[in-house]
């Protein structure tokens, strides 16, 4: 066991983690723990852009952006947080440009902007060009630029360090963050990082779905670490299904493709979005478009021999425009499907993309232990967190924005807190839980295989809690997840070694996915309404009387050690926008 002490420890080195690190390193002794190398993080897979009302190419302002974000989130957004997001977006983009980010430029040399789903002028009148972008590799450029600036600032990274436990110590009747326990992949050694402040920026949990745009490594490790220590998870039933994933593979094809003029078509060649969203058409919010695609498929207008997908048609766009604005996604179509997007439409289907829910925080990134109480010293930002700026459905380009705005905020807040605070004593035997977990997996002789359970989980989630849900499908999922959790106790691994044991870590990750899938399904079962990404066919309308509130899920353990999930609710912060019917 090795022991380290820092002022600030950041868990995760994607956009949010590195944006936080740039601030925290200037102000406090900071370590960044990442289970990958920083530049492998999935921020790099984001394509289309980062929203900010720069008004570089047409009239725009942050108030319109705030409204779009709240409406896009189907009014489950905390409106004070959305206002901060939209207001600080402008500086967030300018900061990145000053750090060196190579944005596409207008003829005048300013940052260029393009249209994106749900972003409108004057509260829904028409699409507005708000997305600041670098071809279709904006996330790549953000990740590289932030890493470059971490190198410049001398940020200290612990690469391939896997955080497995959050340490909390009660002092004066208050639970405080004391540090984290990490597993070093190269050696199998356990490390304790005692820190005054800890920031989780470990990303999403999309790997509990089979068809997903998420990386293999997005397994909800941060959410699971705090949840297992009794802290709540907020709005976990809200998961975004991006309309345009490559059919069956789930690889993301940016909404920027539709922003550039791409059109969705069914097997009859019909531009079907005109029926579902007369004003915004193909650029309606993602939940609306994904439901429309599945409606077309269900009603027999899907494409291909089995009618199980639709087309993203770019063939009417000039090849030069595709080369300049969408080079990566057109290459994906060539590489993985063997088709030429200049002349052929691309087979697509909705793909599990983004967790709107996560670890509840306030606008400083401070983690909450209930509806109002802050856990001193604990922070979260990015997809792992729920501020909530995305509510029931995130707008495209608002996640690259979220990681920059709230990554920066949490980095500053955590470092300031660390300055003003002392180390919290570690709990007795801080590594006990992690050591027991690892030894159990290493020594197990059970006959269940990780890959098999994971596949069963993913197939169950795709079939039952995707775009369309009913009480019956969700119950099926809850039951199946329960069965898989039982079987997980009998999982064994083949690699018993200490060196780069990815077999062991995949088993740990599966445990995280199972816990979080259960939270998602249980939260979804209780929400008897349809809102944003959560669509219940048995309750097809939004119910503001009973459900205009955030779900808060807590893990409970009774005297016999039996686990259960307790659901509570938290009011939505409303400032100036009254809920309206959502039309695009």
């Amino acid at each position: 066991m090795q022991f380290h002490t820092y002022d600030t420890v950041i868990v995760g080195a994607g956009g949010a983690g590195m944006r936080a690190a740039i601030e925290a390193t200037k102000r406090s002794r900071t370590a960044v723990l990442t289970k990958l190398y920083p530049t492998r993080s999935h921020t790099g897979a984001a394509q289309g852009g980062m929203a900010a009302a720069l008004a570089n190419v047409e009239e725009d302002n942050w108030e319109w952006h705030t409204f779009d974000t709240i409406k896009g989130g189907d009014y489950l957004v905390d409106q004070d947080a959305a206002e901060i997001l939209a207001k600080e977006a402008i500086d967030a983009v300018l900061d990145l440009e000053k750090m060196g980010l190579p944005f596409n430029r207008t003829p005048e040399g300013r940052i260029d902007q393009r249209r994106f789903g749900g972003h409108t002028r004057n509260h829904g009148e028409a699409a507005v060009r708000r997305s600041c972008y670098a071809a279709d590799r904006t996330g790549h450029m953000i990740l590289q630029t932030l890493y470059q600036n971490c190198v410049k600032e001398g940020v200290e990274f612990f690469n391939e360090f896997y955080v497995l436990d959050q340490l909390l110590t009660e002092v004066d009747g208050v639970r405080r963050s004391a540090g984290v326990v990490a597993y070093e992949l190269a050696t199998g050694e356990i490390h304790v990082f005692q820190a005054k402040a800890v920031i989780y920026a470990s990303g999403g949990t999309g790997k509990f779905f089979k068809v997903t745009s998420n990386a293999h490594t997005l397994t909800g490790d941060g959410q699971a670490a705090v949840y297992r220590r009794g802290l709540p998870l907020e709005d976990m039933e809200f998961f975004q299904f991006h309309p345009t994933g490559i059919w069956r593979m789930g690889i993301l094809l940016t909404e920027g493709a539709r922003g550039e003029g791409g059109i969705l078509r069914n097997k009859d060649g019909e531009r079907f979005m005109e029926k579902y969203a007369p004003v915004m058409k193909d650029l309606a919010s993602r939940d609306v478009v994904s439901r429309a695609i599945y409606t077309e498929i269900r009603e027999g207008r899907g494409c291909g021999p089995e009618g199980d997908h639709v087309y993203l048609d770019l063939t009417h766009l000039p090849p030069e425009q595709l080369d300049a604005k969408l080079p990566d996604i057109t290459e994906f179509a060539r590489t993985y499907l063997g088709i030429e997007p200049y002349t052929d439409p691309i087979p697509i289907q909705p793909t599990a993309h983004y967790a709107m829910g996560g670890i509840p925080t306030n606008v400083q990134g401070e983690v909450l232990s209930d509806n109002t109480t802050v856990v001193p010293g604990l922070y979260a930002a990015g997809e792992v967190a729920c501020v909530s700026v995305h509510g029931a459905n995130r707008l495209g380009t608002n996640s690259l924005l979220d990681i920059n705005v709230f990554g920066r905020r949490s980095g500053i807040a955590a470092a300031d807190y660390a300055h003003a605070s002392d180390l919290v004593p570690l709990p007795e035997n801080p590594t006990e839980k992690v050591e027991a977990q690892i030894e159990r997996l290493r020594n197990s002789t059970g006959d269940e295989r990780v890959a098999e359970l994971r596949l069963e989980l993913q197939e169950c989630m795709d079939a039952n809690v995707m775009v369309f849900r009913t009480e019956q499908t969700i119950k099926t999922a809850v039951e199946k997840i329960g069965e898989l959790r039982e079987r997980y106790l009998n999982v064994s691994i083949q690699d018993k070694g200490r060196r780069f044991n990815t077999d062991l870590l995949e088993a740990v990750e599966l445990g995280n996915l199972l816990d979080l899938a259960e939270v998602m399904a249980v939260s979804a079962l209780a929400r008897k309404e349809s809102r944003g990404g959560h669509y219940r066919e048995d309750f097809p309308t939004r119910d503001d009387v009973n459900f205009m509130r955030h779900t808060m899920a807590y893990r409970e353990v009774d005297a016999n050690g039996a686990e259960s999930i307790r659901l509570d609710y938290k009011p939505v912060v409303q400032t100036r926008y009254q809920p309206m019917e959502r039309k695009y």
Partner: protein
């Protein structure tokens, strides 16, 4: 408004939409090494059934998940943007997630081994630290002087285009570990570090070009390049790596960039 394209279904689209996967038997021949078990590396053959449209990464997963969980490799995004899974496949550096089985002569054994010139730690996992050190050594960040503008710095589309190619780098090390000079002498910065220096030297906003050029004027710098074009062939992002290195050499002579 465009017209539907569906009446002229191409054969490529028809092929892409075939659902009944037809599996073929392949031999995946993997260079295994685990110092916890043996000091020697060895080739191990795995017979598996795969869809030829799948990726080499899918085949590796199949082995790991169904046959031998100890097979170890790095991977994350699985579609060629994170740079984790550069490896030597049939003797060529590629990303396993961007290489389809059908394109690597599956009728013969497909060989997979760790990228060359770097210390192998286990199976396909190499020590990346020296690679990232060379990257850090070229000061891969925007260097400017004077007061920052309130708004963005202006840059013309043409000036932005000047360094576009080298912004695509994902630091996968496929280029550096394909370079014969680097194999013989690990002190050489290697193509990836030079690519990332190029990205800033030719950025009109940057003022650190001279400093970076001096670093690359070193005996282990750009002059070691023998223009074998291995790096350009290896780059999974299609960056013209050798051209970028030549542009840095030229800038060192002319001091114009």
């Amino acid at each position: 408004m465009s017209t539907p394209t569906l009446d002229k279904h191409s054969s490529a689209l028809d092929a892409a939409e075939v659902t009944g996967t037809h599996l073929i038997a392949i031999t995946l021949r993997v260079r295994r090494f685990n110092p916890e078990v043996s000091a020697e590396a060895e080739w191990v053959d795995y017979q598996i059934q795969v869809d030829p449209k799948e990726r080499v990464l899918d085949a590796l997963h199949k082995v790991k998940w169904e046959i031998d969980g100890s097979l170890t490799f790095r991977r994350s995004c699985a579609h060629g943007v994170c740079g984790s899974d550069a490896m030597r496949i049939n003797g060529k550096n590629r990303l396993a997630c961007k290489t389809l089985i059908k394109d690597v002569s599956p009728e013969k054994p497909i060989t997979v081994e760790a990228i060359k010139g770097m210390t192998v730690l286990k199976d396909l996992v190499v020590d990346m630290d020296p690679f990232f050190q060379a990257y850090r050594d070229v000061m891969p960040f925007l260097i400017t002087t004077g007061n920052e503008p309130t708004r963005e710095r202006l840059q013309s589309a043409a000036d932005r285009e000047r360094f576009d190619d080298t912004t695509k780098c994902i630091l996968c090390a496929a280029c550096t570990s394909s370079c014969p000079v680097f194999w013989n002498d690990g002190q050489y910065f290697g193509p990836a570090a030079i690519v990332n220096a190029h990205r800033f030297i030719f950025d009109s906003r940057d003022e650190g070009g001279e400093q970076r050029l001096e670093i690359l004027n070193d005996k282990d710098g750009v002059w070691r390049c023998r223009t074998t074009f291995n790096c350009t062939d290896a780059c999974p992002r299609g960056i013209e790596v050798t051209k970028a290195i030549q542009e840095v050499k030229r800038a060192l002579i002319t001091r114009r960039f």
